[in-house]
């Protein structure tokens, strides 16, 4: 079971990465308990990809390090995506990554979404920004998402822990139900339809 975790935190240490780590660990636990499978996790940190993402947007080509990130997403059985909340939405960097990610990469992909922010008043970015975008990309988005405010990392940590475990339990059921993800050979499909077209003319 391959899990790729996309995390859009900007600072070091990053609360977004902290949430991503907790989600990844909880999902790996749930997967192991549910099916005895080992979850192999790959993290895609967006901050070091900032320049390649912008280059891809401006020139249309993908540098090696960004291509590796694309490959890690395309080759996953499930994706966990976590962003800081900026101005009532995801961060621009987070959105830009998905803007340059090749079309259809996330189609039929089970995705668990998470977000972080200064206060819990921004928690609905998950429902108003992240969920519609992933739905648009034809991902299968887990019903329970996790938001962590700064205060969650302080004294009242117990509640975040439970939310993480509950979301991981839901998501692992979804992963289990979806099974290993069939990779689409997009170029072969394009060529097959082209051969059909050429066959029709000749």
């Amino acid at each position: 079971m391959k899990l790729t975790i996309i995390t859009g935190g900007l600072r070091e240490p990053s609360s977004t990465r902290l949430l991503a780590d907790r989600l990844a660990a909880a999902v790996a636990d749930e997967v192991r308990q549910r099916s005895g499978q080992r979850a192999e996790t790959t993290f895609v940190e967006l901050r070091p990809l900032g320049h390649p993402i912008m280059d891809a947007m401006l020139t249309g080509f993908t540098r090696e390090e960004l291509q590796s990130a694309f490959d890690a997403v395309a080759g996953a059985d499930g994706v966990i995506a976590v962003t800081p909340a900026f101005n009532a939405s995801f961060s621009g960097l987070f959105k830009s990554f998905f803007d340059v990610l090749p079309e259809h990469t996330l189609a039929d992909m089970p995705v668990l979404i998470g977000a972080t922010g200064g206060t819990e008043r921004h928690s609905l970015v998950l429902e108003h920004a992240l969920r519609p975008m992933f739905t648009y990309l034809h991902a299968i988005v887990a019903p329970r998402a996790v938001y962590a405010a700064t205060s969650d990392f302080g004294e009242s940590e117990s509640s975040l822990g439970k939310r993480v475990v509950d979301a991981a339990a839901d998501y692992s059921r979804l992963l289990h139900a979806c099974g290993p993800r069939a990779r689409r050979a997009e170029i072969d499909e394009d060529l097959a339809s082209m051969q059909q077209l050429l066959g029709d003319t000749s």
């Binding site: 401006l58 249309g60 080509f61 082209m194 077209l197 003319t201």
Partner: protein
């Protein structure tokens, strides 16, 4: 027979035809100046011994070449040896009947110094301006090209299809010169379907080779070569491959870098993006001395195999005419003679030379001689 045929490879330039402000002076050429500069560049290309001049086709500012065969016909009258081509002719939005007519006339005017590179065009609004829809780009390409081939090969054409009005009893006038249609290249930046189309018909495949890393060009050319063999046109090594490329040269490589940087930084397509250093390391762009350009260009063969045509982009991003002409001097005097010599070394005998009207005519006559000895005379008389 010209030297390019003897050596197997053609070298030339291709232009986008952009009217761009020179970022170092703030001056912008008028459309008239840009068009006249394009003619001067083409004439210079012949003068310094290059083989091919190709013009883009665009239907929106800041570009001037909306009528390529008008431009190429004018250049044909002022040159004697140069092969005139396009980069690209829009197979999607042009009527195939008009393409067949325009290029037939150009072929006759230029004495066979004509071929054509077909592309789809990726500017959305251009499609509706010509009554088409970009979402239909691939089916349009296939249908239009299928008809274009018939117009150039069949004396009387009946056509019925959904993408164009029907033709009943249509005969192209003038017929292709000597009964031999212009050689067709299919060009793509990133669309594998175009490689498939070129392979299917045994036509040439031209990889843009400007915007994307070599690994991408390599996989597109590999696909084309493999499918070319699959369709029975020869071995993968015998497929007809062309590459773009982009260079800026001064004798001292540091001078080249500092002179080109403001043009690169402000270029319409990739400006304000990656640094010049990143772009030169990630894409085939070479900015430096003629020796560096020679080294880099010879390296193209390592990932596409022995190929037939190399075109360089040298006249964009607001570079002044004088500078462009200096680039052509360096290409013609120092770069291309070495490339011709070095690319010929180790080139297997069964890799075909770049197709020309003469080579296609010989093949046509040989084929006609085998099957229908009289037909060719008939075509000539007609």
């Amino acid at each position: 027979m010209d030297s390019s045929e003897a050596l197997g490879m053609q070298f030339g330039i291709f232009t986008v035809g952009d009217v761009t402000t020179d970022p170092t002076t703030g001056t912008t050429p008028t459309e008239a100046e840009r068009i006249q500069a394009t003619v001067a560049i083409a004439r210079k290309a012949e003068e310094v011994g290059l083989d091919v001049f190709a013009t883009g086709e665009h239907h929106n500012p800041p570009f001037v070449p909306s009528s390529p065969t008008t431009l190429l016909g004018y250049i044909a009258a002022q040159t004697e040896r140069l092969i005139l081509s396009t980069s690209t002719t829009l197979i999607t939005t042009n009527d195939p009947v008009k393409i067949a007519e325009d290029f037939s006339v150009l072929q006759h005017l230029s004495g066979g110094r004509t071929d054509v590179m077909l592309g789809r065009g990726n500017t959305g609004p251009v499609y509706p301006w010509f009554g088409q829809d970009i979402r239909q780009a691939i089916p349009l390409t296939v249908a239009h090209y299928g008809l274009l081939r018939r117009l150039w090969r069949e004396e009387v054409v009946d056509y019925e299809g959904t993408l164009r009005s029907s033709l009943q009893g249509f005969t192209l006038a003038p017929q292709p010169l000597d009964g031999v249609p212009p050689f067709v290249w299919h060009a793509a930046i990133r669309t594998p379907e175009v490689a498939e189309l070129a392979a299917h018909f045994g036509d040439g495949f031209f990889a843009n080779h400007i915007f994307w890393p070599p690994s991408h060009t390599q996989s597109m050319v590999e696909l084309y070569r493999r499918r070319f063999a699959h369709y029975g046109h020869g071995s993968p090594e015998q497929a007809i491959v062309g590459l773009g490329g982009q260079v800026f040269m001064r004798r001292n490589s540091q001078d080249a870098v500092s002179e080109f940087r403001p043009y690169f930084d402000n270029a319409p397509v990739y400006g304000h993006g990656p640094s010049l250093e990143d772009f030169t390391s990630l894409t085939p762009l070479t900015v430096g001395s003629p020796a560096q350009v020679i080294d880099r260009t010879l390296g193209f063969r390592d990932y596409v195999g022995d190929y037939q045509r190399q075109l360089f982009l040298v006249d964009h991003a607001g570079l002044p005419l004088k500078t462009v002409l200096e680039q052509l001097d360096l290409l013609g005097e120092e770069v291309v003679p070495v490339l011709r010599k070095e690319f010929a070394v180790g080139r297997p005998a069964d890799v075909p030379p770049a197709p020309t009207h003469e080579s296609l005519l010989r093949a046509h006559r040989a084929a006609a001689g085998d099957s229908q000895p009289d037909r060719e005379e008939g075509v000539k008389a007609g």
